[in-house]
Subunit: 302 residues, 2 copies
């Protein structure tokens, strides 16, 4: 029962002249999400941020930007096209589109090359590849209109493959509950003060969004044996506010392989003795936005 | 300038009632190869074996079996279909079909699932996956008609990714020569006594076949930076006759990632201190034919 957990992600930031994206209202976002054949399942909000759980991953909307993340074989570029029909180029500050490492890229509706060609018909962005094609790798297409990332324009992604142990067993078990998953992930300890919204899929799979002020985190779990995948993503300044979080997530989920992708920040991850770094690549997207990609693995005994 | 070096491979063994495959003659093999849109470039032979360099990899023909290996996006299953039209099921002893780890599987004409469906319409074989989909992996489809592999039905594949160093630099250089490649690979030292046939492609790429009695070896080189790949494959009993060969090839080509796949044998490979084993899986194909898959990587400093 294969499911492609790994995600595509878009972040679009608009200029002040564009007005507030939050004020576009739910019908606009429903229509945008529907362009990708996904739908909104539930919603929470803070004073600065609306967070939506989607049928495939999540959507976050601030006044000046949105982040949409989709898993499965959703063609996220269609939602980007919908947004760009409404917002002319002079209202855009930056657009980034990312495809994370896929288990079975040939099952996707489009290749990254096709996505890139479509995006480049709309905006003169540039594609970057981080990591080798025969190992974990990420594709990022990025465009900006002279935008300079600020100190708080940060993002951390921890992508965990082949999870095992107690939490993984629970996530694959029959009869699991929302409360049980929250406990297995120690969610309320790790994210105290966040407003939490989560969804348990049938027969497996779990998504959670958390918001606090302008901060968000999201976790998506595809627990299936042989193709398990858990993504954690946040704009929390982890180095400042939660230096042990990434280590704690790795301890709970015990992945045998994981990627750390950071945009404009350097959170701490203490690779344990049984972990090695097998790929590392940095880039400066359009010469302004630093991104760093690391792939870790746990070797077997020889 | 991407080229998919990694190969598909078929081995078909016939019963004594099928007669000698070598006596089918060159026109039969030309036609079989042409079914996959490949062609024969050159040929050598020993008393027991004909070896052909193809436009995409190699073909070896013994009296009782043949091995065809293709790279690029050749659909090798079409050649298998051609053979099975000529040889009825009661003349077949075993058929194995393998797809090695691909850099860009979505550029292939067919998926392994499609190949498997086609093969299973002809014969009731079974598919095996060795290794995880997000790391190096191999697919093997295998069928036999009560055939029991003999002690000498062995095969060793060493698949090297991301080569570097002096030999790799030469293989990527302008103005290389056959003699220069042979020297870079120390071919005449490593394979003394073998009749050698080789071909240098434009602008890059090199294939060599060697035969000696019923033994063969073949090396195929796709040196392109970022997607380099070198495959070595042989039925030599390495443990008995050449215990240091795999280590020597790794020293010469210095891959940062390599797979060792062995069928019915356990040749020695002394993983150096800077190499770790990241995947290992064994299987018994249709309960008779042992195969072992190992993926090694050279970690980076942290």
């Amino acid at each position: 029962m294969f499911f492609e957990g790994s995600e595509k992600k878009v972040q679009i930031r608009v200029t002040p002249q564009a007005g507030s994206l939050r004020e576009l209202g739910i019908e606009f976002w429903r229509a945008l999400v529907a362009q990708s054949q996904a739908s909104i399942l539930s919603q929470v909000q803070s004073a600065e941020l609306d967070a939506f759980i989607l049928s495939e991953s999540s959507l976050f909307v601030w006044d000046d930007r949105f982040v949409m993340i989709t898993c499965g074989n959703i063609s996220l570029v269609d939602s980007i096209g919908f947004f760009l029909q409404r917002f002319d180029r002079e209202l855009l500050a930056e657009v980034s589109f990312q495809r994370k490492n896929e288990y079975q890229s040939h099952l996707q509706k489009t290749t990254f090359e096709q996505d890139q060609q479509q995006l480049s018909q709309w905006l003169p962005g540039r594609a970057h590849q981080l990591g080798h094609l025969d190992g974990h790798h990420n594709f990022i297409w990025y465009w900006h209109a002279g935008h300079q990332p600020k100190a708080l324009d940060i993002n951390t992604e921890l992508l965990m493959y082949h999870i095992s142990g107690e939490a993984a067993d629970y996530l694959r078990s029959q009869g699991q509950s929302i409360a049980g998953v929250r406990r297995a992930l120690a969610l309320e300890d790790l994210f105290a003060g966040f407003i939490i919204d989560d969804f348990l899929f049938e027969p497996y799979g779990y998504s959670v969004n958390g918001v606090k002020g302008c901060q968000y985190f999201t976790i998506h779990i595809t627990p299936q044996e042989d193709s398990s995948y858990v993504s954690f993503e946040t704009n929390i300044d982890l180095a400042l506010n939660h230096p042990t979080l990434l280590d704690q997530l790795c301890q709970i989920l015990n992945p045998s392989s994981f990627d750390l992708i950071t945009f404009n920040c350097s959170p701490s991850l203490t690779a344990s003795d049984d972990t090695v770094l097998v790929a590392h690549q940095s880039a400066s997207l359009q010469a302004v936005y630093p991104v760093d990609f690391k792939h870790f693995m746990c070797p077997l005994g020889t």
